[in-house]
Symmetry: C2
């Protein structure tokens, strides 16, 4: 322990700008959607982007300590300004402060630290047709995360070869072993067969960061000023570090679903159990066993049946309608839904 460095005090410390970004999630038509703000106009207004840049971004804006009493209050302001939504659920995700990962920034002397938030809504937003703001499918940005129709092709076709190239390119044996291990943990990539052994659906961020580190996603090329002749993995990129924040949100939501009743924030007030199941499947990215899901949900006391029936859905026996019992929060310490994979 050295003496406390009296030299750099809080007050002398170079100031920092805090960027607040929101991953606003909704599930529409059994697909997980995230609210996207596209185009230079928005980013220029915020004064962050150079005029010729363009791309997808999350709703975001700077934290203004004079206006905003808390970070969340600031974030809510930006969401209100930039979306037609008023999400009922907000949760802070993570604070990123990496140098060089906020590309497009004009003034490099002011470092931008970004605080990511997750917001959930069941609103449509009625902005389907706009080019500038819309709900985008989050699997457009992370195609390898959607296992609902089995293992995504992109894994064999692009990711696995890309990672193997990256592993082979390690400078020494130690580094090579380290890369191999990371690829195994994140993507279940094994040496032996060309099979993926395990897949932890919550490791969305870890996987993205690995691809970033291996220069397999556009942002890595962009941030490091490399040429774009690299072979990239398919999947839309985003401005700044927004895809990383989206990855964080996906992982967090997938995890939280299992021990807190957050899915209901994504549901209308009344819903069928199949609806609920499809919503959960959209989020976690794999299919579930229908009968067991039903048993789990009904047995958890999280929902109650409502008298009427529903048929509009599709051909078949009409399903009962359910609603979320808000008072479970009082009864049980940690209501949620334990899920188990049922791939294929």
């Amino acid at each position: 322990m050295t003496a406390s460095s009296g030299s750099s005090s809080v007050l002398n410390a170079p100031a920092v700008v805090i960027g607040l970004s929101a991953v606003v999630v909704a599930v529409q038509g059994h697909e997980p959607k995230v609210f996207i703000v596209r185009g230079a106009e928005h980013a220029l207004a915020a004064g962050v982007m150079s005029p010729n840049e363009d791309g997808d971004a999350l709703p975001f804006g700077p934290f203004d300590p004079l206006q905003h009493k808390t970070l969340e209050e600031g974030l809510r302001t930006w969401v209100r300004d930039q979306t037609p939504l008023s999400p009922g659920y907000f949760e802070q995700l993570y604070t990123f402060g990496n140098r060089g990962r906020y590309a497009g920034q004009r003034d490099e002397t002011k470092r931008v630290v970004s605080v990511g938030y997750l917001a959930l809504t069941h609103e449509k937003g009625s902005v389907e047709k706009s080019e500038r703001v819309f709900f985008g499918n989050w699997y457009d940005y992370f195609p390898w995360e959607d296992w609902r129709d089995g293992k995504p092709r992109i894994l064999q076709d692009a990711i696995e070869p890309g990672l193997k190239r990256w592993i082979a390119a390690a400078e020494n044996a130690e580094e090579k072993e380290h890369r191999r291990m990371r690829a195994q943990v994140c993507f279940g990539l094994t040496d032996a067969a060309d099979a993926f052994s395990t897949w932890d659906e919550e490791k969305v961020l870890e996987r993205y960061e690995l691809l970033y580190g291996a220069n397999l996603v556009y942002e890595a090329i962009r941030d490091k000023g490399m040429k774009v002749d690299y072979v990239l993995v398919p999947g839309r990129s985003m401005l700044y570090d927004h895809r990383r924040i989206l990855a964080t949100a996906m992982g967090r939501l997938r995890g939280k679903l299992k021990y807190r009743p957050v899915v209901f924030e994504l549901m209308p007030s009344e819903f069928t159990l199949l609806n609920l199941q499809k919503t959960v499947e959209a989020i976690v990215g794999h299919r579930l066993h229908k009968q067991n899901f039903r048993r789990l949900v009904e047995g958890s006391g999280m929902v109650e049946e409502v008298a009427g029936k529903k048929s509009a859905e599709a051909g078949g026996r009409p399903a009962a309608l359910f609603r979320f019992r808000r008072d479970v929060l009082l009864e049980r310490p940690a209501p949620g839904m334990k899920l188990s994979a049922n791939l294929g």
Copy 2:
């Protein structure tokens, strides 16, 4: 949705200072400890505290965007400077930006946003005797969180009456109901009997925030500039928002323990199963069933037995020594330990 407010751009936004604080946890003698830096000297060096203030603080310092490539790098620097430890595990907890909760700050124009980190170590630190820096028992700051010897007296004696006063003092029926509900969710406080029904050991932060909101902890009185003739709940206070950060750390660690093998960061390389159990108990704050704990740990594949035996512990049959199998991280997606309460 209004038009993007072009008026406030990222670059025009008032700058903010980021404070990095570390909750460095160790378990010593079956007690959970947190590294404390006490005294004005330290805080004055950082330029945050007025000269006549004093108290317990976490190791902390400002984030310097010129020196530090990432937030975590900055934090590690401060931990290295202010403690004799080098923790093997770091995890970001939360970013707090509330106005008025960073008391002692001289210059109110520069808002301090604090990013809290959790760090785990098994080092003693050999600073036992110092008055200025030491490991403090975290239950000194949160006496109501230690249920290892049954329900803490402080709940009946101070907290329950305090909360009831707070509920009764609500201005209208709606607010009263809201307060009642929060007290029930956080402390299991029920209307009917004077019994606590449920206790979610992970809700450490929620409980602290409730006590803060009810003006039952010193920091609330301090931050709001109130008189100290309030009846406060026992428990040491901390400088700035550090007790809140500690609460966040406790809750997070208690949760993480159950699904990630983080306990082992707190253990020496070789340990007995009882040692491991006592460490877990210290963290989660309640006792566990010995035989079942052993079955769980041995069956999880997280540990392997080492040849030698150990006896120094106490009178009784010597226990086998175990060590953590680092490679479980490769085999299983989410190794951890599911725990169940066994109070009394």
